[in-house]
């Protein structure tokens, strides 16, 4: 077993439901703690005992590969007993209501519940009915706090900090929980945020989020330190929000030509899974300016940090 982390940061709340409400100190504390786990994860011996005896349930109402896997790995590395439940293999499929599911789970005395749900606000609803800690692993188009934290960590490690950076978030802002969480985190940490999308993919009122708004990539990427691309769901591609894949890629897809509008040392991010040739060109996704693989690595470390920081606040910790 490894030594306990040097950081003694405690997230003084029971749940992590979103970035909204986190202070600059909260975010810095989580990122500092995550840095330590990045190092740990690169060792042969990756185990810690801080969550020994604890039960973590990953409850995914929406399919996910990387988020679910990284939460599972994070919990196991901290010594928790981790159980995965997904919508396809459970009674949720049989018509059980969200509240009934909560009551059932509560009876099993989990310590931490990690939840992803397709409806905005569903995680908060569950949290209000449970005795354990709840971590939002993505709710509808609302928040995905651990994604924003791992993005923040990735940027901080590559740019030395977040203060004063210009981050362009591009694509389907309207439906993106990643965009909302990132806007809040980046604003809190002193970065400038610009959203870039066709007007059909921008939520009305977005300009009141403290972001700059651009409709075209040349204007939107000008001077950007970070270019963060978002996934465009297939059902939104053909005529409903944008006319076609080819038009979307032509005007808003990130290729080398458009990336050149950003700063020469700009870095490219994508929360995954990518639609190559829709929102991002393979040459850019796999290129020297891409941080996409590093984001996945940071995902495990950040989720360990969140689990650790919340667990320090659990009863009998």
């Amino acid at each position: 077993m490894n030594m306990a982390p040097k950081s003694s940061f405690v997230l003084s709340r029971r749940h992590l439901l979103g970035i909204e409400g986190l202070s600059r100190a909260d975010i810095s504390g989580l990122l500092d703690l995550a840095e330590e786990f990045v190092e740990l994860n690169r060792q042969v011996e990756k185990k810690r005992a801080s969550l020994r005896g604890r039960t973590q349930i990953n409850l995914f109402f929406e399919v996910s590969t990387r988020t679910q896997a990284s939460f599972e790995l994070a919990g196991k590395r901290l010594g928790a007993d981790v159980m995965n439940m997904s919508a396809s293999s459970s009674s949720m499929r049989k018509g059980e209501t969200l509240i009934d599911t909560a009551i059932t789970l509560n009876a099993m005395h989990p310590d931490i519940l990690v939840v992803r749900h397709h409806a905005s606000g569903a995680v908060e609803l569950l949290a209000s009915k449970l005795d354990c800690s709840v971590i939002n692993a993505g709710d509808g188009s609302h928040e995905h706090p651990t994604q924003a934290l791992l993005d923040g960590l990735t940027i901080r490690r590559n740019k030395g900090g977040l203060d004063g950076l210009l981050v362009a978030i591009c694509g389907d802002i309207l439906h993106s929980r990643v965009a909302r969480s990132n806007i809040m985190l980046l604003n809190t940490m002193g970065a400038r945020v610009r959203v870039v999308a066709p007007s059909t993919l921008l939520p009305p009122g977005i300009e009141r989020f403290g972001v700059e708004v651009a409709r075209d990539m040349r204007e939107g990427l000008a001077g950007a330190d970070i270019v963060m691309m978002l996934r465009l769901q297939r059902e939104r591609m053909n005529g409903s929000y944008v006319p076609s894949v080819s038009e979307y890629f032509h005007y808003w897809g990130l290729d080398e030509k458009k990336l050149a509008y950003a700063k020469p040392n700009a870095l490219v991010m994508h929360p995954g899974p990518m639609n190559r040739g829709v929102e991002i060109d393979s040459i850019v996704a796999d290129g020297a300016q891409s941080l996409i693989r590093e984001q996945v690595e940071m995902g495990v470390a950040v989720r360990m940090a969140v689990l650790e920081a919340l667990s320090r606040n659990l009863p009998n910790a």
Binding site: S199, T200, G239, P243, E247
Partner: protein, 435 residues
């Protein structure tokens, strides 16, 4: 473009020059060289022109910008028996139209960049006037999914419309307006609610009742227009009502303009010169969409043109074969040809004192060119030499057999006219001359 005459300099001498783009109306000469207007002023004279200039005496005649017809159906691709770019452009030249805006409700519909490209090439090779297409607003004109507005505009589409079809799904319309706004693309919409049209075939009211025909209420138009205005307010796009026909629509339009929305509108030459009574004994050539309304409505449309509330007069040129027109009124296809007659019909309003010449010409040239971002509609120095010479007082009788359009479904057949285009010049070349 076909070479009908050498492109040597032309001096239009001793004319009355009318330029609605600058509100100028003065006696003078106009010199054309290298496809552009060199200058228009008093007393250029034969001495002040380059060697080899063709001098045309225009005493007693008007020189005005060529007309830009914002709505004409041409049968290519898919209905070449009704009209081709070649035949339409001959008709246009004879009517003083130097730019035709063709509609996308063809077969296949003009809804992808390759078809826009086809239209532009085909027109370039066969037409004697300029042709620019509007592209479909929704794929296959189905009203469900928006087209590639950005790529279509880049390919040369000047605006987006579903032609004679209305987009009934408000969500589709909202998103299209929102998306088009990013490209500063103009959406042109036929505002007739198909459910309210139902089986109606002419204006609803006493006259329809007497003829035993089902009526189309004015509300079919105003309901759709009103909806669209709300959506424009929501989305901020550029919107043009394709064909308004009644006084109530003008009220809606006035409110939208007062609110500062980017809203404009056209009326067809038919609606400003004819009314439902002209249908008489079931004349199917006067069956159009939207239907001809009452005389009060026609008068309000003309007043709105004079006030500048109504922006554009278009031909709504829609060639129909005898097989689609020689039928009982209710079964006949709607549509009338108009490229060749829109100016001469419009001059009726000038001669009757209802509308002044400047305003008529502005609505047929300067305004549509501005809305579509096209050259033309002006006699400024340096402007494209697309212009017409009009004999404003020439009396003549319209003989359908002489019309250049492939179809002869004109509401003005055998009508007495006063005033006619005697010469049409496109890009500095004479493409039509009345002999």
């Amino acid at each position: 473009m076909m070479m009908l005459s050498e492109r040597r300099p032309i001096l239009l001498a001793n004319a009355r020059i009318v330029d609605p783009s600058r509100d100028l109306d003065f006696p003078g000469d106009l010199l054309i060289a290298d496809g552009a207007i060199r200058e228009a002023k008093k007393g250029i004279g034969a001495a002040g022109v380059p060697e080899g200039t063709e001098v045309i005496d225009c005493r007693g005649k008007l020189v005005a910008p060529g007309l830009v017809d914002m709505r004409a159906f041409i049968g290519e691709p898919g209905a070449a028996s009704r009209e081709t770019f070649a035949s339409a452009s001959q008709a246009a030249a004879a009517g003083g139209v130097t730019t035709i805006i063709c509609q996308p409700d063809t077969s296949p519909a003009i809804d992808d960049p390759a078809t826009v490209d086809f239209v532009l090439r085909r027109a370039r090779d066969t037409a004697i006037v300029h042709v620019h297409p509007m592209a479909a607003l929704t794929k296959g004109l189905q009203g469900a999914e928006m087209t590639e507005i950005g790529l279509l505009k880049a390919a040369g589409a000047v605006a987006f419309t579903d032609g004679e079809k209305s987009v009934t799904n408000a969500q589709v319309m909202r998103r299209a307006l929102t998306y088009a706004g990013d490209f500063d693309a103009l959406i042109v919409h036929h505002t007739e609610d198909p459910d309210l049209i139902g089986d109606g075939v002419m204006n609803e009211g006493e006259f329809a009742a007497r003829l035993g025909l089902l009526g189309i209420p004015k509300a079919a138009e105003t309901v759709m227009l009103e909806r669209d205005i709300r959506l424009v307010a929501l989305s901020g796009g550029r919107y043009h009502a394709a064909s308004v026909s009644c006084a109530e629509s003008l009220e809606v339009l006035a409110r939208a303009k007062q609110a500062g929305l980017k809203v404009t509108a056209s009326a067809s030459i038919n609606h400003i010169t004819l009314n439902e009574n002209d249908i008489g004994p079931y004349r199917t050539f006067l069956k159009v969409a939207p239907p001809l309304r009452a005389e009060d409505d026609r008068q309000r449309l003309v007043e709105a043109l004079a006030e500048g509330l109504l922006d554009v007069i278009m031909s709504d040129h829609n060639p129909q074969d005898v097989e689609t027109k020689r039928l009982p009124f209710a079964e006949a296809a709607p549509g009338a040809i108009g490229l060749e007659t829109m100016l001469t019909a419009g001059l009726r309003l000038v001669h009757s004192g209802e509308l002044d010449l400047m305003k008529l010409l502005r609505a047929m040239s300067t305004r549509p060119a501005e809305l579509l971002g096209l050259p033309g509609g002006s006699l400024r120095s340096g402007a494209a030499a697309d212009l017409i010479v009009i004999d404003p007082d020439l009396p003549w009788v319209l003989d359908p057999a002489e019309l250049k359009s492939k179809c002869k479904n004109t509401p003005f057949d055998e009508a007495r006219m006063t005033g006619r285009v005697v010469r049409t010049i496109v890009a500095g070349r004479t493409v039509y001359e009345l002999v």
